[in-house]
């Protein structure tokens, strides 16, 4: 399944995000291992947002929390991926499919980190901008 992390900006009504006003600021495919880690460690909260302005908050959204911890986890994963890629490129024989897989995993993890970093560094105090699973 192609699960994504999406950085979303909402217009708020009474402090609650409104779905129809959402604007995607960025996204990244979420590797399954990272998805599992985020869920297993509870780095998320399930919140209800409004479908339209004036509606009751009934649309369930999974928003990431503890982003500093998520980034720490991601960076540990990225360093492991670099080690694996180094092993795969350190010898005389380079297997193209292995290298391709290493680079793709690294690219995915870096993009996920970037989404989390943008929220942490630029929008930490913005409750209208969330990182959600989608």
């Amino acid at each position: 399944m192609s699960q994504k992390l999406i950085l979303v900006k909402y217009i708020m009504e009474d402090g609650i995000p409104v779905d129809e006003t959402s604007e995607n600021l960025g996204s990244a495919y979420l590797p399954d291992e990272l998805h599992e880690a985020i869920l297993h460690k509870g780095f998320y909260s399930e919140i209800n947002i409004k479908e339209t302005q004036g509606a009751e908050p009934e649309i369930s959204v999974i928003a990431l929390e503890n982003l500093d911890e998520v980034i720490n986890q991601l960076e540990a994963e990225i360093f492991e991926l670099i080690k694996v890629a180094h092993i795969h490129t350190g010898g005389e024989v380079h297997i193209r499919t292995e290298i391709e897989r290493d680079l793709r995993k690294l690219s995915d993890a870096l993009k996920v980190r970037e989404i989390c970093k943008v929220k942490c560094d630029e929008y930490a105090d913005r409750p209208d901008i969330l990182v959600i699973l989608g």
Binding site: M1, S2, Y44, L133
Partner: protein, 164 residues
């Protein structure tokens, strides 16, 4: 919303089985999976090769419960993305589904599957995308109607009837 990757795996396998089963009733429908379910597939969970008017027939089944539309002999390839969400599909998720369509222009149509319903914002995004390239979404209710129209055939009886 899917907060369980095991749900995602099951959803993708189930949709693969449902479309494969349609292929036991109708001619010229093939389902391809390129990766394990745990691999981010750039929005391509399944590829379905099928007659070009298949989604018209599925739309009619989803709306009315059945369809008399005959399938054509012209084959197209379709990107299928599965979201095994237990709630509504929101606008942000639909925007990403449509973005993935742009990244995969080799497909003639794009079908999303999952969720109990679409939010108003998600419906608007889908309608706009559908103006450019056939882009459909089948919710759990639509899939239930499609499954009722194409019941699973016991393996021992597969050869009893010629596919439609």
């Amino acid at each position: 919303m899917s907060k369980n990757s095991e749900k995602g795996r099951k959803g993708e396998l189930a949709v693969c089985a449902i479309f494969s089963n349609i292929g036991t009733h109708e001619r010229n429908i093939e389902v391809i999976r390129d990766n394990k379910t745990c691999t981010p597939e750039r929005g391509v969970d399944l590829v379905v090769f099928c007659p070009h008017n298949t989604s018209n027939k599925l739309d009619e089944i989803a709306e009315k419960g059945d369809s008399e539309i005959g399938l054509s002999n012209t084959e197209i390839s379709v990107r299928v993305q599965v979201k095994n969400f237990s709630g509504a599909i929101g606008k942000a998720t639909m925007e990403e589904f449509v973005e993935d369509s742009k990244k995969n222009p080799q497909f003639a149509e794009h079908w999303g599957v999952g969720g109990l319903r679409l939010t108003k914002g998600a419906k608007e995004v889908l309608e706009n995308a559908n103006k450019n390239v056939p882009t459909k979404w089948y919710t759990a209710d639509s899939i239930t109607k499609i499954q009722a129209q194409y019941p699973e055939r016991p393996f021992v009886n597969l050869n009893d009837e010629t596919p439609k």
